[in-house]
Amino acid sequence: MLHTPVQLVAVIHHKLACQPPLNRTRRRRRRRSRCDIIHSMATFSFTRCLVRSYFCVKCVDHVQTRLQTTASRSTQFTDTEVQDILTKITGLDLKKVFQPIRQQLTPPKYKLMTDTELEEAVRKAEEQAKHLLKMPPVLPERKPVNDVLSEDQMLEGMGTAKYVFTDINFNVPHRERFIVVREPSGTLRKATWNERDRIIQVYFPKEGRKITPPPIFKEENLRVVFEQDRHEDVLNQCVVQFEPDSAEFKNVLMLTYEDIEKHGKYDLLRSTRFFGGLAWHLVNGRRIDGLLVDMLQSDLMQDAVRLVRLFNLVHPQSESAQHAQRQQATDLDLLKIYAQYESNRAGFIELAVQTYEQTKALSSF
């Protein structure tokens, strides 16, 4: 992967080098040489851009192929069908999404609108809400960085402090920024993920993020906040503070989801950007009974069906998935099959399905 961009640069330079011979007059040669310099600089930056984009494309391709190989074995969070189901389950309550936030207040603006304009405004609001409800990514945990670049014993004993050298170019993505640490023992190593996060926060501070994680993420404080039913605030803090592939992020999310599932407070996260993550966590842990029951109690039949379909997608080897595959079941039959084979609360689910069918039959008359 390294030598291909170098080859590209070399080829283009060679092509530039094979130009028609220079005119012999002095003035023209000087002008030509200046032009040449500018031309070569432009081409160099162009090739650098090309190389960069080629490199990134190569990276993305590489990642894509890796994802595809795993996708063939199991469903991933990023699959279109999974994302579609999760967005539909999350719902779209405009009143909750556009709750007034605490900010500097301005006087309200009143507009007189026709019906069509009102519909247009509602449509725009729904688009904005969809953008706000984008789920934080579920990524595998990042591998630790243990790379030693050089060992210089002669620098041992020079001081007692570590020196951190950071690349603070502005146009470099944070994940491609080189941060190295010179230990007092003389080893030059790449900085660990925690060190990287701290140093990047020092030089490129993000709004709301602290350099050291705030004490809200400790067990006792989390317990207090969960008792006050403020899970969404905790999750917002977590999303702002940590990177999505870090261990602390996953830990806090896991604790929040566990607490919600224990007390059945699914409604707190409904119509927020975290509901998809909650549903995915429960489906992976094969514990969707509580959520299903909650959906059935709130008369969200379609959502319950979608949840069971997601379960079958993620666990195609489970009994309910196999039976559903065999019978080509749809809608309420999926629920019945799931209740029969996988669920712990089979009675309640079947009862709920029956009552729904009866009410539908009655209303159709």
Partner: protein, 245 residues
């Protein structure tokens, strides 16, 4: 007669200013010492009759520890607080004393210097049971606007600058611990690439090494030099070339 008396007075004023100042200061301190303990005794009489015995012991000494110093949030549920403030914030009935219509844009630096308390202390300093602590969420909420989430200016509430700094610190700690609501920005995940394949965060790839026969640039072998140019260069550097070239 009057003129000479005036002159004597002026001379006295000029020659003994220090003595005069000292007298004035001493008078002020005597006033405070008589009035302030009365003030504090009044409060403690309001507070609880049970602890009046303990308060009677320390009338003249330095700052007495309030009985709520360990758990300051309990004071806000007690009877004396409700009787004194009701449901309004503690700063609602406080009025600063200043000349003119527009108050100075900074409140006083501190109400209590060592032993002495100033006249008309601020809403927090005048009640020794009100303690600014990060767990005292109900008190801190009184100093935050419920709509904007911004901490009230000390000009509005009347607190001294020292207490305002303590308030700011306590509010920040409470927001960090999750006891108070903190408005955070929306995080956008669409532009980041999480593949972690770049050399900065992944193990350094092995250095590129040439296998035998391979050239550094693939076009090394394919370009043929101009024959006449080659002959000319060879002729010029004939003395320096190896014999077999």
């Amino acid at each position: 007669m009057a003129a000479s008396l005036q002159r004597i007075g002026i001379v006295i004023c000029r020659t003994f200013p220090v003595i005069l100042q000292r007298n004035i200061q001493a008078q002020r301190i005597r006033d405070w010492k008589t009035s302030a303990p009365v003030l504090r005794l009044n409060f403690r009489a309001l507070s609880s009759s049970s602890s009046s015995s303990s308060s009677a012991d320390d009338t003249d000494s330095t700052e007495v520890l309030s009985r709520y110093s360990d758990r300051p949030w309990e004071y806000l549920e007690s009877e004396e607080y409700i009787e004194r403030y009701g449901s309004k914030p503690v700063w609602s009935n406080y009025r600063r004393n200043h000349k003119g219509g527009v108050p100075p844009q900074k409140t006083r630096k501190t109400c209590i210097r060592g032993d002495k308390i100033c006249g008309n202390p601020c809403p927090i300093c005048r009640d020794p049971n009100i303690i600014v602590h990060y767990k005292n969420v109900n008190l801190l909420q009184q100093f935050i606007s419920p709509q904007t989430g911004i901490v009230h200016d000390p000009i509005r509430t009347g607190v001294c600058m020292k207490q305002q700094k303590l308030l700011n610190k306590a509010i920040e700690t409470a927001r960090d611990c999750g006891l108070l609501f903190a408005q955070l920005p929306h995080v956008d995940y669409s532009k980041e690439d999480y593949s972690n394949t770049h050399g900065a965060v992944a193990p350094t790839p092995a250095p590129f090494s040439l296998s035998s026969g391979e050239l550094w640039y693939p076009w090394y072998g394919s370009i043929k030099p101009d024959e006449r140019e080659l002959a000319r260069v060879k002729r010029i550097y004939k003395d320096y070339l190896k014999p077999d070239v």
